[in-house]
């Protein structure tokens, strides 16, 4: 069963005017797993999702969802998918409950099963208190949770989540993560796009890294990290010591960086077994007192850097925006709690 591919994309290309959004993308997702489609803004993630969810037609290539061709039988594909898109796609003038029931009815679920399912999901996503309020008053986090709930109305076997936590504060983000993890237990196949490395790392079984419309890496989070082999060691000394650098130099790869106060040493290492022990012994033999030592495994950010030569979250302006939105979210949550 796990070998069955619920999502398959082969050689997808798509051009919007001058922009080559996708330049030949291949990936597949086995049943019951999460694939993280990771890449910076404009990498082509959303375009891939739009093609797979029948919203856009590929210029070339082929794609199937639940074994159904998305170009030849879009109507059938729509019966098997749930979509939580990046932009708010719920009706701001309806209540949370009305939104869910509408989605259910338009999916041919019938009115009373829709109502029952909506109540169930509202409870699951802790939105029962806000269920009969108009969406306009929802916080960003509440909207995302409702969006996720809407995508689950029909219990679809395949789920597309396009940047489900972009712009959320850490708490709301954690709640969305928990909800996604819960789905996995139910055997749903998920394609998740994200700009956040930690998100892909935390949720996905496999990660496909895209940049400029191409796949630049494909593997499990561990495989990708191993491929970059850029572990770090950080040593905190009790006091600066002239022999410290000389003591650990033979154990690390390349240059040892010393902080200004002389107490903090860091260096790249090959992640060998027992490395921390060797470092501490070497320092002890040289008469150096160690306060703390840490071997840091490569993060996906390191991986992304080694693959693309650029950091994934590099835009300072974006960071500021996110902080403002997060603050906004908090305010709404508070207001929500009061009413």
């Amino acid at each position: 069963m796990a070998d069955e591919l619920m999502i398959q994309a082969e050689g997808l290309t798509k051009r919007y005017g001058e922009t080559q959004a996708l330049a030949g993308v291949d990936f597949s997702v086995p049943a019951g797993t999460i694939l993280g489609l990771l890449g910076p803004n404009g990498a082509g993630k959303t375009t891939a999702v739009r093609i797979l969810t029948t919203l856009a037609l590929p210029d070339a290539g082929r794609a199937t969802v639940a074994g159904i061709d998305v170009v030849k039988h879009p109507g059938e594909v729509r019966r098997h998918i749930g979509v939580a898109a990046q932009d708010a796609t719920l009706d701001p003038l309806l209540t949370g409950r009305q939104n869910l029931v509408l989605v259910g009815e338009l999916s041919d679920m019938g009115r009373s099963p829709s109502r029952a399912r909506a109540a169930e999901l509202l409870a699951q996503f802790e939105l029962t208190d806000a269920a009969d309020r108009v969406l306009k008053g929802y916080s960003g986090g509440m909207r995302r949770r409702l969006d996720l709930a809407a995508s689950l109305m029909t219990r679809p076997p395949v789920l597309f989540l396009d940047e489900p936590t972009t712009g959320l504060d850490p708490t709301s983000r954690q709640r969305v993560w928990d909800a996604i993890r819960e789905l996995l237990g139910e055997g749903v196949t998920v394609l998740l796009t994200t700009q956040y490395l930690d998100e892909a790392d935390a949720l996905a079984h496999r990660i496909v890294v895209v940049d400029h419309g191409r796949v630049i890496a494909d593997g499990t989070p561990t495989e990708l990290k191993e491929a970059s082999r850029s572990a770090h060691i950080e040593v905190m000394l009790a006091a600066p010591h002239p022999d410290a650098v000389g003591a650990i130099s033979p154990l690390v790869t390349g240059h040892v960086h010393v902080s200004e106060d002389g107490r903090h040493l860091s260096a790249g290492v090959d992640a060998a077994a027992g490395l921390a022990t060797s470092v501490v012994r070497a320092l002890d033999a040289a008469g150096v007192l160690v306060d703390n030592i840490e071997v840091r495994q490569p993060s996906l950010d390191d991986v992304f850097f080694s693959l693309t030569g650029g950091h994934i979250e590099e835009d300072d302006e974006d960071e500021v925006d996110l902080a403002v939105e997060a603050a906004d979210d908090d305010r709404h949550e508070l207001e929500g709690a009061r009413t």
């Binding site: 919203l55 932009d87 679920m109």
Partner: protein, 285 residues
């Protein structure tokens, strides 16, 4: 793991109805219609053009112009005016269709709908159904306000209802032109300008407010062939109210009811498929 996956898959595939059934499109349309009605209930000011405006227009026109406008061939201005007021209010309210559709397209909503296994045109038909319902409300308010200020139809119940239906049918056909405009406009605001550029001249260069006999020759020709004139004259005939256009030697003025129906059917036959086409074009990428 294996079992849950199987159950899941079955739930997805085993949904009650297939996309090919007739009931699907109907229930989808009804769901979309209700959605649009909820919108109206949330922002009642949206309704002002079919509730407050008709009352205002009726009172203003009857009491301000009423005494100053003689009706050729006799009869009171109030009796003459009501058909025109009904047409004016219904014609200008079709602007709501253009703005509403344009708004739907500009918000992310349309993507959610398109990824659902629904009848896609339900978005269009549901909108026009909701607009038809508000038009009926508008017609009711115009009728009641008219009665309050002295409008007296001189026809049986069937004739009165037929007069209202004639105007409603015409305004319904116009909502499809409005839909075409809404589907082609860049923003809801530009869709709104359709009302001032097209609908107001359409409503006013006609016999809706005043008889056309005193207009300059060229304008009278336009007014007499304006579908709104046929609709107003037709309603006046059906209601047994004064209809001075009877003496005008233009075919639509001689046969206003037939002319109204022909106009309405023609507009529907052209604008509805065109709207469906624009909608497909707008939502394909």
């Amino acid at each position: 793991m294996t079992t849950t996956t199987l159950t899941r898959t079955t739930t997805g595939v085993g949904r009650p109805r297939s996309s090919g059934s007739l009931f699907g499109p109907l229930s989808d349309t009804w769901a979309m219609t209700r959605r649009n009605l909820v919108h109206i209930s949330r922002e009642p000011m949206q309704l002002s053009d079919v509730t407050i405006q008709p009352v205002l227009f009726t009172v203003l026109f009857v009491y301000i112009f009423g005494g100053a406008i003689p009706i050729p061939g006799g009869g009171t201005y109030t009796d003459y005016l009501l058909a025109g007021l009904l047409a004016l209010n219904l014609v200008t309210s079709t602007m709501g269709t253009a703005v509403g559709l344009s708004t739907d397209l500009h918000e992310g909503m349309v993507d959610r709908f398109r990824a659902l296994p629904m009848w896609r045109s339900a978005m269009l038909v549901g909108r026009s159904m909701a607009d038809l319902m508000t038009s009926c409300l508008c017609a009711l308010i115009v009728g009641l306000t008219g009665l309050a200020v002295g409008w007296r139809p001189d026809a049986g119940f069937a004739g009165i209802v037929a007069g209202f239906l004639l105007v409603l049918f015409f305004s319904y056909s116009l909502t499809w032109i409005a839909a075409c405009v809404g589907l082609n406009s860049k923003s809801p605001e530009s869709a709104a300008s359709f009302g001032f550029i097209v609908l107001f001249p359409l409503a006013f260069v006609s016999n809706a407010m005043v008889p056309t006999l005193h207009m300059p020759g060229w304008m009278q020709a336009i007014a007499d062939w304006n579908p709104v004139s046929a609709v107003c004259a037709g309603a006046r005939d059906l209601w047994g109210n004064p209809n001075p256009s009877k003496v005008i030697d233009a075919w639509p003025m001689q046969h206003p009811v037939e002319a109204s129906l022909i106009w309405s059917v023609l507009i529907l036959a052209v604008a509805a498929p065109l709207a469906a086409h624009f909608f497909r074009r707008r939502t394909t990428e």
